[in-house]
């Protein structure tokens, strides 16, 4: 292996799948081999069966749908507010000086600790779940976008100035396009974190969603269901990552080779 040397696409796919195969092999070995009690860890087949039952008998597809909706809803709300603020912060130093200390402080407030408060304010309805995700995402996006925009190559800005660009032109025709791929990458990253917040929000005071199913299953000691729920989240994450990456390749061909 040579550092940074590229590999072929087929090799990449095979290696990627290989890890999953090994993972399932180790899991099967531990459970079917009787090394781990079924009470604590269901074997892969039981997990798949329980998962199937969840889907066909208990309407788990609805839970999956509602969780995806919450994640996207909270995330989109956060991004719509945070991306423009982040861009303005990165571009204009007075705005940065005004907002940065507060945002840096707010960023460390754990979204999950707001749940009890949010339940008081917004009840246990949908708004409360969306707000948990919103609070968890908005400050992170603002700060990361601001850093990205503030770090746009100075020489590109100077080139634009000598071509006659003024404030608005610099913002709209240099800072924004130059940071767009990195902003998309930030969105991908934060969307991943949003999944953590949604599950926590659903573990507490919820009657639907993947997180709710997981708490229910715990009471029934149905570890197969819990694992199935976790895997479903993983698979959704994988798909959304893939979609994000394809969209970025399509939107920003210039940033790749």
């Amino acid at each position: 292996m040579t550092p940074l040397a590229p590999i072929s696409n087929s090799a990449r796919v095979v290696l990627g799948i290989l890890f999953f195969v090994l993972f399932f092999a180790a899991w099967s070995f531990a459970t079917f081999g009787g090394y781990v009690s079924a009470t604590f860890l269901a074997d892969p087949l039981t997990m798949l069966m329980e998962g199937w039952l969840l889907l066909v008998k208990q309407g788990f597809a609805f839970d999956i749908g509602i969780t995806i909706w919450r994640v996207l809803g909270g995330f989109v709300m956060a991004a719509l507010l945070a991306v423009p603020i982040g861009i303005l912060m990165g571009a204009y130093k007075p705005i940065e000086a005004f907002l940065e200390p507060f945002v840096s402080f707010a960023r460390y407030l754990p979204a999950s600790a707001f749940i009890p408060l949010l339940i008081l304010w917004a009840g246990i309805g949908e708004m409360q779940k969306l707000l948990v995700i919103f609070i968890g995402s908005v400050f992170q996006i603002v700060l990361m976008v601001a850093v990205t925009v503030g770090g746009v190559r100075r020489d590109l800005v100077e080139a634009a100035l000598t071509l006659g660009a003024r404030d608005r032109g610099i913002l709209a025709r240099v800072l924004v396009p130059a940071s767009a791929p990195a902003i998309a990458e930030i969105a991908r990253l934060v969307l991943g974190w949003a999944w953590t917040y949604v599950i926590i929000a659903e573990l507490i005071g919820s009657s639907s969603g993947i997180g709710h199913m997981i708490t229910d299953s715990q009471a029934l000691l149905a570890t197969g269901q819990i694992i199935f729920g976790i895997l479903v989240i993983g698979v959704i994450g994988l798909i959304s990552d893939y979609l994000f990456k394809s969209a970025n390749r399509w939107l920003f061909p210039w940033s790749l080779a």
Partner: protein, 261 residues
């Protein structure tokens, strides 16, 4: 009659963490006439880029002033086009869109813009590359595009800061001929920074030599080689004599500069 006049221009950079301030440019006077091609020659660190950035309006002088067509320079503007040593094409724009950048900013209508861009792509020999991104171009092609991008704006003066510094010798020679061809045809006013003596003579109607830091203008030489110039002129006796003379001037400064470090 000077298009650009630089009066007593100086720039002192404040010292870092209480260190001594850097006198990058001593009070300097320079006039650039209409249609002059002035090359500025000097050792590394003598303040050539500082001078050019001041003219571009990207930096503010400590003292003195700059007049372009009688108006003081206080900020960057499209009347002073600049080509940088580093590659500064906008990576998200194609060659054509890069060249059109200044025209769009001015609000030139699309049809006129497209015609101007096409003409420039033709002139810099990049036909067929209009829709390539900068990443897909060689260094020479990128700098040609950068020159076209600056000139498409039709600036009163074109400023170039060692634009060919990173190119190999052959490419460099071709680029010099291309730039000279544009100047001979379009009658542009140009201020060109380099530390390559041959380049300075070949391109110039005037060579200005700067001293080692703190930078001052030390010699100012008219170059009366005939136009249109062909690369073969570089082997003529007249060229060699100029080169010998400037080599001597620069050597003294380079020795000083080396001693200062």
């Amino acid at each position: 009659m000077s298009r650009l006049s630089i009066d007593n221009l100086s720039r002192v950079f404040p010292g870092m963490r209480g260190g001594a301030p850097t006198r990058a440019l001593e009070p300097t006077n320079l006039g650039v006439g209409d249609n002059d091609f002035v090359t500025i020659l000097g050792p590394s660190g003598c303040g050539k880029s500082t001078l050019l950035r001041l003219v571009a309006g990207l930096d503010r002088p400590t003292s003195g002033r700059i007049l372009l067509d009688g108006r003081p320079v206080s900020a960057p503007g499209p009347d002073r086009g600049m080509v940088f040593q580093s590659y500064t094409l906008f990576p998200w724009l194609t060659v054509a869109d890069n060249i059109a950048f200044g025209l769009r900013e001015k609000g030139v209508e699309a049809a006129v813009r497209a015609a101007t861009v096409d003409a420039w792509i033709e002139r810099i020999g990049l036909a067929g590359f209009a829709h390539h991104y900068p990443k897909q171009l060689s260094g020479g092609m990128q700098q040609r595009t950068a020159i076209a991008r600056a000139l498409a704006n039709d600036p009163a003066i074109l400023l170039l800061d060692e634009p060919f510094g990173a190119l190999d010798n052959q490419t460099r020679a071709l680029m010099q001929e291309m730039l000279l061809g544009i100047w001979e045809r379009d009658a542009k006013t140009v201020l060109f920074v380099t530390h390559d003596i041959e380049e300075a003579i070949f391109l110039a109607s005037r060579v200005v030599v700067m001293s080692a830091r703190p930078g001052r203008i030390k010699a100012d030489l008219r170059i009366d080689l005939p136009h249109p110039r062909h690369y073969t002129i570089k082997t003529s006796a007249e060229f060699s004599a100029l080169k010998a003379r400037l080599t001597e001037e620069i050597r003294a400064e380079a020795v000083l500069a080396a001693a200062a470090h």
